[in-house]
Amino acid sequence: MANLLKEIEAQIAGAKTTAAKQNVGVIREVGDGIAKIEGLTDAMLNEMIDLGHGVTGLALNLDETEVGVVILGDYTQLKEGDEARTTGRLLQVPVGKGLLGRVVNILGEPVDGKGPIKSDKTYPVEKTAPGIIRRRSVSQPVQTGIMPIDAMIPIGRGQRELIIGDRATGKTTICIDTIISQARLNKAAEVAGDKDYRPLYCIYVAIGQKQSTIARVIAVLEEAGAMPYTIIVASPASDSAANQYLVPFAGAAMGEWFMDNGMDALIVYDDLTKQAVAYRQVSLLLKRPSGREAFPGDVFYLHSRLLERAARVGEKYGNGSLTAMPIIETQSGDVSAYIPTNVISITDGQIFLETDLFYQGVRPAINVGISVSRVGSAAQVKAMKQVAGKLKGELAQFRELAAFAQFGSDLDAKTQAQIDHGKRIMEIFKQAQYNPIPVEIQVAVLWTVQNGYLDQVPVARVKEFQNKLTEYFATRKGQLLAKIGREKALSDELKDELKAAAEEFKQTWQ
């Protein structure tokens, strides 16, 4: 009781005694999560507006006589004639390591029932992206643990790599695998006491998804032990359009804190198509002029200002990074639609997933031919470059020859060998979900493939061979793998060791 009295006394002492100026307005119209407020002459763009009843809004349209506000909360309590006032604050979310392992909403409030979040710092949701001077080029890899990506479409820390494909082609799975891979690497480095390793923290932003889908993602991450390194920011399908449009920005703010404090973070936006649809809804309700496909004119700016916030900053500025993996869902593989072309042009590359490949059993269903990484190769591990340098070309050649061979003409031995080699590579790249492969094993397996140790293995048994080989390397050649991981390049000595190991394994393989 004494404490309470002291607290109240302190509050009374701290209470302002002067009459501060406030800017007020009157709600003229409310509905569909939007309010039109007359007055509020001092309102700023993106300023939080106190609408009373504990409801907050965000000023998005500043007109001559009224302000268009999106309501972030239950708007059913508001009515025409209610008073609204400016707060002088921009929309902010809590940031920091206290959010790791938690599931939060757009305002950074916990929705996982694990109690309040320990965070004393906030970041504005809308923030200007780092400028040219602060940035540096991408040079450190993000090990996704997905072999075709790490080998042929490498991603670097600070890069923006788009994941694009139709519904149910494994877009989210790629991102979840990447998050699991980071958690394993972080944990391994922690256990080994490796101080040089820079942990990569992950943020998964769920936009307009079913609650059950989000719950499944959380369950997968928890099962894989990835949650302690991950923040989940959720705005499910039942949330208002305003929340769905703003949630990626909230996630980006949380990621920026890691970048600004010299750490590395990865953010997954799942997915930006739904965000664009939510933004269209908000814009139409605010009566903004619509353009192509009824999207507002600034839908490109919506995505560009979000994705520009992903960057690698220079050592002078903390040497942190924020890697972005936006997801875009296409309709019937149409990458030339409005939103996909916009995001393709903003990002530093794209991983294209195809339904046909998915149903042919090629999973992850990555179309290597049209997937690119524009800056990631600079960040690729040298050992991987040595073994995977020719892979993309070989696969392109294989696809061309395979298409030609479909006509049923007789093939010469060399062409047949090339086709067989391609088929084996395709088999090697098939990978189970939620099972990222460490880069050392990827290097060892690819070295084995590239040096002809699989040429005698029937295509149907390639996967079996790969699994046994992986097991062999992991259980009996741990030191060799550790050496590859340490040196990050294949020296002649390492190549000899790999050769000896492959020979030894081949003798046991039946």
């Binding site: 509050q11 005694t17 009459a19 100026k21 406030q22 800017n23 007020v24 307005g25 001092d42 006589t65």
Partner: protein
């Protein structure tokens, strides 16, 4: 009533024509309203509606509503009036009202600006902070 952008633009133009030294001239406003009522233009009702809205906002901007817990003495009224005119310029319509629910102090509203020095406002702020 749907007010088109064109109607808004025209109403704004008429509103600007009614300003004399930054203040709305009553006779001009009357003239404009009469002209619009008499006009056979199809969009004149919507122009009139927006013009009325602009005039109302202008009136609100130039009206100071002063509420106090107890009726203010004449000398205090003069002090407040002088202070407001000094801040907002001449042409301010000032109304005084007696509101016991404020408990103590004064609340002044000029257009969208509110200066709330009442005990009620401080108690509300205290309640919020606790």
């Amino acid at each position: 009533m749907k007010i088109t952008k064109r109607a808004k633009r025209e109403a704004k133009h008429l509103y600007c024509l009614c300003l004399v030294k930054g203040l709305l001239d009553e006779s001009r406003v009357r003239q404009v309203v009469q002209h619009l009522i008499a006009s056979s233009k199809r969009n004149s009702p919507s122009i009139l509606a927006h013009f009325l809205r602009l005039a109302k906002l202008d009136y609100a901007q130039h009206t100071a509503a002063i509420e106090s817990a107890i009726p203010l003495l004449a000398n205090l009224r003069t002090v407040v009036q002088t202070g407001l005119e000094h801040r907002y310029g001449p042409g301010l319509t000032i109304t005084f009202a007696h509101s016991p629910e404020l408990i103590g102090g004064m609340r002044i509203q000029v257009g969208c600006d509110v200066y709330d020095g009442s005990v009620r406002a401080r108690l509300d702020a205290l309640e919020k902070s606790i």
